[in-house]
Each structure stands twice: as structure tokens, then as C-alpha cells.
Amino acid sequence: MSYGEKHIGETLLKVDNITLAFGGVKALSDISFEIRKHEILAIIGPNGAGKTSMLNVINGFYHPQQGRIEFRGVERRAMRPHLAARQGIARTFQNVALFKGMSTLDNIMTGRTLKMKSNIFQQAIYWGANQREEIAHREVVEKIIDFLEIEAIRKTPVGRLPYGLQKRVELARALAMEPDLLLLDEPMAGMNVEEKEDMCRFVLDVNDEFGTTIALIEHDMGVVMDISDRVVVLDYGRKLADGTPAVVRANQDVIDAYLGVSH
């Protein structure tokens, strides 16, 4: 297929010399890398390498003892998750974190909360401007439902869905925030081959259609090498390598620590 050239822009988020410790345990030491606009960046590494900690630092859940983070060229301090969300950083979780009793539609609507102007009392009355606002949000949500092809489960309680679909609903909720930066923590873990292929296609489509920058953690090397523009490799809280999939795959340190050799 003749795809047009993809335009990877300037730096969107930059982490500089991040060090994060829990008591005596150093989860991350002296990590620096950047995420550029419109790219898909994969963070890989063995168990306990600090991948999820890294995402937690980026979206303000953990506070690093050292280092600085720049988002859109502005250094941020005292970051909290809800502030990160307001700035346009959305994420999904390794263990699906949805409201199990609520329908798919309602779960995705929660992703719009930050964008709503009316308060809970106005919404309860549901009249005039509030009604119009809700309809506008619903429209956005319906477009996402269409995009991720989950029409059939629109009204199904999320708890009743298979795992692969729950992951997709979680992605939908993150997309409902219309984020600039989307953090995906193992979006394909525990999926079968077909579900993985679907998810890959959705990640690529989101990146292409909405221009969303994506940072994802993934263990399936086939997936990582296929869809990412750049790969950052972590091991025991240190950064081992950073570059295009081809460069990373050839890096001896990475092979020793993580990829292994085929015998």
C-alpha cells in the first residue's frame, strides 16, 4: 500500500535524568529520553525493569526524587494524575481498570468528564444547555465506538465482556479524552493472536487518524518491532538503548539482557 510519509514532529515530552526510588530500591536511575509528536514509542524490558514506573512518572502518579520532565516545552513540577489528564495525557492500565458494573457506553462517557462544563446538579436536571452538552459528548463517544468497532457491546456491562474487549473499551475511554499523548500499559497482554492483530490495527489507526502520540509498554517483540517508530529499552531501572527497532534489535546489550539469541 502506498502510505504517505509520516511526519514525526518536535519533542512533545522530555524526561531528563529521572531517578525514582522506593526506600532503598531504585526503580529508575538516571533515565533520559524523549517522546516526539506523532510517533509510536515502545518501552520494553524484562520484568521489574521499571517500565510501568516510568509511565507512572510520566502521568504524575509517582514523583521522582531527581530529574525533570518537560511537556510541550514547559517544565512541570508537583504533577498529579488529574493535572496530567487535564494537560492531555491519557492512559490505560496493565490490569484493566474499568467500572465493571457500568455499560461500555457509560465507561467511555467517564472519559469525557474533564471536558464537561456543567456540574452534577445541572446534569441531574438535564435541560437546555446541559442537554446540548451531553448530546455533543455522546456524539464524540459514538464516533469512538464506531472507530473501535464496539457497537455490539454498547450497552453491555463491562464486567460481562471478555478480556480482549475490556482492553478495547479501556482504550476507548482513554481516547474519549482526546489526548495528545496516550500511554498504553501492555495493551495486548493476555490476548490471542487475532485480538492482538486487531489491537495493533487500532493503535496504528489512532496514531494515523487522530495524530495521537503513543507510548506503549509491550512484551510481544513481533508487535513492538512491527508498529513502533522508536524503542526505549530498560533493564533494572537503567536505560540500555534508545532508537529505531532495527538499531535496538542489533544492540548487543539488549540481546544479552532481554531479547536473547536463537540457538
Binding site: D146, E151, A152, D208
Partner: protein, 656 residues
């Protein structure tokens, strides 16, 4: 409801019918589509405008009289409109199965000599791009859904909106264009080419004229008294003749509304939201719905379950009789009315059948239990028999004369005769023109005076209802000359939930014998409830109680067969329960789960020999392929059971 006036003879093409609907009922809904979760309705006036612009757009793109145009996608209003727009220009739409792989698509596109294709989305565009090199005649591709296609730069790709906008401009400059074009088409022009699914050999392109489709659709409307108030749902493939008649032909003739589901996965929910009045589904869909109901009833509370059981037993006793207008006692009538409030009403509402006036099923035999279930609830479900070559209707069950095992009486203007070989033949206004570029096949199927061989064997019963028993080529003869219809017998067996598959033998043999496969889900759940323990499929299948149950089922089938003198010879005298499930991975079934009789006969030769000997058991070793590709061997000693046959007119005693 008042009967509608059928279109006059001058309205002999779909574009003309559309203009008639625009004048008669411009504000009535014509087609609905669910988009972003909301039903969007287009009325006849709007549809006529859309089609007018589209026709001019296609003309600007270069579509000429006589061109074939491939149409690929799910049921979408725009694809139906494309058909009418092409017919307005005198071009011939060729709808393709949307799930066919590139390979199959290449054959049809090439064979049909399609110069253009109008498709739904990226998936279909990709397939066409893949085959384009092999189909040199294919020039331009139009797509409806732009998602994912932004980076496709090929000049021969056009977006539907752009095409229609161009047509709009063209029409401004040429206000008489459309009217002149549609006046040039007549009833005997080819309207559509439908490719048969091709279970045997390459698909054949069936050419149907406007007269074929319009007249047959009108006859169907007349017979069932359909009006422009009907609502139906278009969810079966557009390449299939049934959809072409039910969702396109009859909708244009009667002026009723057709709804396109949001996606193929949401059909059941959309059905419930819409509540159609006119519905078609193959037996398996009715079966799936019934299974869902039964499973959910098992999980319901005690009171609900008791109520459901009581009223379903009542419905079984008198529901169908009430629907057929037969006499029913006042007590039962009163109870049935109560049942309607408490059980039947809510149940059919959940299924989306509250407003249903007419439901058809066809394609294969439907189990009598399934059939009776819907009829006893008051859903007027009827069987019909048809084919692409007939523009669907050959026979339809008339209201009030419904038998689960016949396909009814000839439809309006249809003549039927049974050939000496037992094959069913028909002649009707719907008889196809010819197979495209295949005169030999046309000559084989259609006689010069317009009779068509269906390939099915059947006969008329004493009430004048047609009974289809099998494919004509599968029907054999027993040694004593008795008729042997394997599929008829197998279907009767498979209607029992305990029996998953059955294979009948008997051609050029002394009597009819069968292999039976138990249904692990049904028999397994019986075993659980009755404290029967088993370690494997093989062990369960060999359980004496299971074999006794199966024996009971087969005796029931034998009794049913004995009633019919023509089929009494098919009674089963010996059978065995197979030690493994027949499986497509082992080549025993096709991918669509049809029994491959010849292959099975070879593979289990020693078992068949044992069936036709006096042996009480048979030993077998079978190589099987596991799901991960490994191979293994299953060994078993199978018990062979003898059965008594019910006495019938031809005095044949047991051969063994």
C-alpha cells in the same frame, strides 16, 4: 390494513418504480440505517434524489449501457442506491459476497467483465487492489467509507460523496438526463447478475431480467398482502437472491421500509429495536434465538421457570391451532390469552417479534420443534422453497396450511412438475434469462420451453404440498428398489438435540443403516443431571444408557418414516454410535459442516461392513488430528444395535 395497489405494467424497472414511489409516497420511510447509534431514515423522496445524483455521477465516471459493475459490502443504503442508479443507466449491477476472499472475488470480477466497482470500505478496496492486476478490465473503484483510505493516492479511487456531488452538478446542466435514461430501459433488459455460491465447481452468474425480479416480487406482495407499512431488515448478503427480492425488489414494489443494521454483530439488538413486521432468516438463526431463550430460562428464578414451562406446554397444545384458525376449546383459549399477557408477549418482545406479521425461513430443513416453538407463540413463521434461478419463490406455505416437513404449495404463476427421475422442475415468470457466458450450463438447467431443473428430489403429498427430500444426485436406491434419501433421514435424526451428526448408508445395499454422533453439550448435560460419570467423548458415546436413548430417537424416526409410503424404505435397521466426533480437521466434514459421505465411507469401511453383517460389535482404529496438528490413534469396540422397523405397505422383512 388495506391492500396496496400493485404497480402498473408500465413501471417495469426499478428506477421507474422508484419514481412511482417518489410521487405516491414521498414522505414515507424507504430505508433506515443506524449510524453512530441513532437510526437515520431516508424517505422515498430523498432516495429518489440520491439515486438521481448518483446515476449522473456514475455516468460522468464513464459507466455506459451494458457495463457490469461489481458491488461489494455489507447491506448499506448507498449500495442499494447504487444498484438503482446503475439500472437507470442500463448498466448491470453484480453484487458480490462481502466476505469472499480476494481469490474468489477475482474470479467473479473477471468473469463478469466488471469495469467498475462500488465498495463499502478499506477492506474491500484492499482486496480489489490485490486482484486488480489480474482483472485488466477493472478501471475505477468507488468507496463509501473513507476511514483508513486517506493515504491511498491511486487516481482510480473515488469517494462516493465526490461522485455524487459531480452528478449533482451534471444534473443541473442536464435536467432531462435522468428521465431520458430511465425511459430507455424496459422489462426484458437484464437487471442484475447474481453469482451462485458455487458449492459445486465455479460460481455461475445468473442473469435476471427486470421482468423476472419485478413480477416475482409483485406476486409475493400479492400473495402475502404486503403493504407499504411493512418494516423489514436487510442483513443477509446483498449477493444472495433472497436479499435482492425481500430487501430490494419487494420494498420498491410495495413501497415499504427496509432497515440496515449497524454492523453484522448488532443484528439481534437492532432487530429488537426495530420490531420488523416482515422478516426472513435461515433456520440456523431461528435455532440460535431459541437456544439463547432456553439457556436464559434455565438461569431464571423458580416462579418464572414454572410459568414458562406451564405456558409453553399450553402453547404447544393449542398455539399453532389458534394461529391457523382451527377450533380450540374456550378454556384453552382463555388460558392462552392469559399466557400472552404473562409469557408469550414479553418473550416475543425480547426477541423483536412483537409486530411480526410474516416470517419466512428457507435454505435448509428446519427442525419441527424450532418451527413449532415460533408458531405456537403466534409468530407466523412459514417455509418457502426457492432458488436464484427462480428469483426466489417456487413454493410457499399458504396461511393456515402449515406442515413442518413440507415447503408448501406453488407460488402465484409457478408451475411445478416432477421429472421421471424424481427431480423437481418449475416454470414461472421468475425463471432466469441465462447463465452469463455459460451456454452449456444454461442448456443443462433450462429447457427450451422454460422449465428449470432444480437439482432437488421431491414429491407432492396428498394435500398437494411439495416435499423436498434431498439433492437429486444424492438420492439412491436400495437393492429392493426402495427410495433412499440420505439427507432426509439424517436431518430427521439431527433434529434431536442429542444427535449432532448422522450419516446414513443404503445406496445399492439391502437396507438403510446409520452412523450417529452424539452432541457432547446436550448429552453431557444430561449425564451431569443423572450422575453418569464419563472421562471422554468416547466413553460417553459408549454408555449403554446413551445408546438406549439414541435407539429410542431412531425408533421415533422410523415410525415417522413409516407413515409416508414413499420414504418408508428409508427406515434404519442397524446403527452404531461413533467413538469420535466427525470433524472438519479430519476431512470428515466440509468447513460449512456438511457431511462428506464418500470420504466417511472410505475411512470407516470396516464399520460399514460390520453394519451390513451379523456382527454385534465392530473394532476400529482411527487416526485423528488434534487441534495443534499432532496426530493420534483412537481405538474402539463399537456396539452395533439392531432395530425393528415399523410395518408398512411394501412387505419387507429384515434382511439380516
Amino acid at each position: 390494513m388495506t391492500e396496496i395497489e400493485l404497480p402498473p405494467a408500465a413501471c417495469d424497472t426499478f428506477p421507474k418504480l422508484l419514481e412511482r414511489n417518489r410521487k405516491l409516497r414521498p414522505g414515507r420511510p424507504a430505508i433506515r440505517e443506524k449510524n453512530f447509534g441513532i437510526w437515520q431514515t431516508h424517505n422515498w423522496g430523498q432516495v429518489a434524489e440520491e439515486v438521481r445524483d448518483l446515476a449522473a455521477g456514475l455516468f460522468s465516471l464513464g459507466v455506459k449501457r451494458g457495463d457490469k459493475v461489481a458491488i461489494v459490502g455489507d447491506n448499506r443504503p448507498r449500495l442499494y442506491w447504487t444498484m438503482t442508479a446503475l439500472q437507470a443507466l442500463g448498466a448491470i449491477p453484480v453484487p458480490l459476497y462481502q466476505d469472499s476472499v480476494a481469490e474468489e472475488m477475482a474470479y467473479v470480477v473477471e468473469h463478469a467483465e466488471a469495469r467498475f466497482a462500488v465498495v463499502e470500505d478499506q477492506e474491500q478496496v484492499d482486496k480489489l487492489l490485490e486482484i486488480k492486476a489480474r482483472c485488466p478490465l477493472l478501471e475505477q473503484i468507488v468507496y463509501d467509507e473513507p476511514r483508513g483510505l486517506r493515504h491511498y493516492t491511486q487516481a482510480f479511487l473515488h469517494h462516493f460523496d465526490a461522485l455524487q456531488a459531480e452528478g449533482r452538478d451534471f444534473n443541473k446542466g442536464h435536467p432531462d438526463f435522468y428521465e431520458t435514461e430511465i425511459a430507455r430501459c424496459h422489462g426484458d433488459d437484464p437487471a442484475v447478475i447474481l453469482y451462485t455460491s458455487g458449492t459445486t465447481g465455479k460460481p455461475k452468474g445468473v442473469i435476471l431480467s427486470f421482468d423476472n425480479v419485478v413480477k416475482t416480487a409483485a406476486n409475493g406482495v400479492k400473495l402475502e398482502k404486503l403493504t407499504d407499512r411493512e418494516e423489514s431488515m436487510a442483513y443477509l448478503p446483498m449477493a444472495w437472491i433472497g436479499d435482492h427480492i425481500f430487501s430490494y425488489g419487494q420494498s420498491y414494489v410495495a413501497g415499504f421500509c427496509v432497515a440496515c443494521p449497524e454492523s453484522s454483530a448488532t443484528v439481534m439488538q437492532d432487530l429488537r429495536e426495530l420490531g420488523p413486521t416482515y422478516f426472513f432468516a435461515p433456520p440456523r438463526i431461528f435455532e440460535n434465538i431459541l437456544t439463547t431463550v432456553m439457556v436464559r430460562m434455565e438461569d431464571a428464578g423458580w416462579i418464572k421457570r414454572r410459568m414458562f414451562r406451564y405456558f409453553m406446554a399450553l402453547a404447544k397444545r393449542c398455539g399453532s391451532r389458534i394461529l391457523d384458525g382451527k377450533p380450540v376449546g374456550p378454556g384453552d383459549r382463555l388460558l392462552y390469552a392469559l399466557g400472552r399477557v404473562l409469557v408469550y408477549g414479553p418473550l416475543i418482545n425480547t426477541l423483536g417479534f412483537t409486530r411480526i406479521r410474516l416470517a419466512y425461513t428457507a435454505g435448509e430443513a428446519i427442525g419441527p420443534d424450532i418451527f413449532d416453538f415460533y408458531r405456537s407463540l403466534g409468530v407466523n413463521l412459514k417455509q418457502l422453497y426457492g432458488s436464484t434461478e427462480a428469483s426466489v419463490f417456487i413454493t410457499i406455505q399458504p396461511d393456515g396450511e402449515i406442515e413442518a416437513d413440507t415447503v408448501g404449495k406453488p407460488a402465484i404463476d409457478v408451475e411445478i412438475r416432477i421429472a421421471d427421475s424424481g427431480e423437481v422442475m418449475f416454470r414461472s415468470p421468475g425463471v432466469f434469462v441465462e447463465y452469463f457466458k455459460n451456454p452449456e450450463a444454461t442448456a443443462q438447467t433450462k429447457t427450451p420451453d422454460g422449465w428449470v431443473y432444480t437439482g432437488d428430489a421431491g414429491f407432492f403429498d396428498d394435500k398437494g404440498h411439495l416435499k423436498i427430500i434431498d439433492r437429486a444426485k444424492d438420492v439412491g436406491r436400495l437393492n429392493d428398489g426402495g427410495l433412499f434419501a440420505p439427507k432426509y433421514v439424517e436431518n430427521k435424526l439431527k433434529f434431536f438435540p442429542d444427535i449432532k451428526e448422522a450419516v446414513a448408508f443404503g445406496h445399492e445395499r439391502a437396507f438403510c443403516a446409520a452412523f450417529v454422533n452424539i452432541d457432547l453439550a446436550a448429552v453431557g448435560s444430561w449425564a451431569e443431571r443423572n450422575n453418569v460419570s464419563y472421562g471422554s467423548y468416547q466413553e460417553l458415546a459408549a454408555n449403554p444408557k446413551v445408546i438406549a436413548t439414541i435407539k429410542g430417537h431412531i425408533e421415533q424416526v422410523n415410525r415417522d418414516l413409516a407413515v409416508d409410503p414413499q420414504l418408508a424404505s428409508c427406515q434404519i435397521r442397524r446403527f452404531l454410535v461413533l467413538h469420535k466426533e466427525l470433524d472438519a480437521d479430519d476431512g470428515e466434514l466440509t468447513r460449512t459442516r456438511k457431511v462428506r459421505r464418500g470420504f466417511i465411507a472410505d475411512r470407516y469401511q470396516e464399520l460399514i461392513e460390520a453394519l451390513y453383517s451379523d456382527a454385534p460389535t465392530a473394532y476400529t482404529e482411527t487416526e485423528v488430528t488434534f487441534e495443534d496438528g499432532r496426530k493420534g490413534v483412537i481405538k474402539a469396540d463399537l456396539q452395533i444395535i439392531d432395530l425393528d422397523v415399523a410395518p408398512v405397505a411394501p412387505p419387507l422383512r429384515k434382511a439380516s
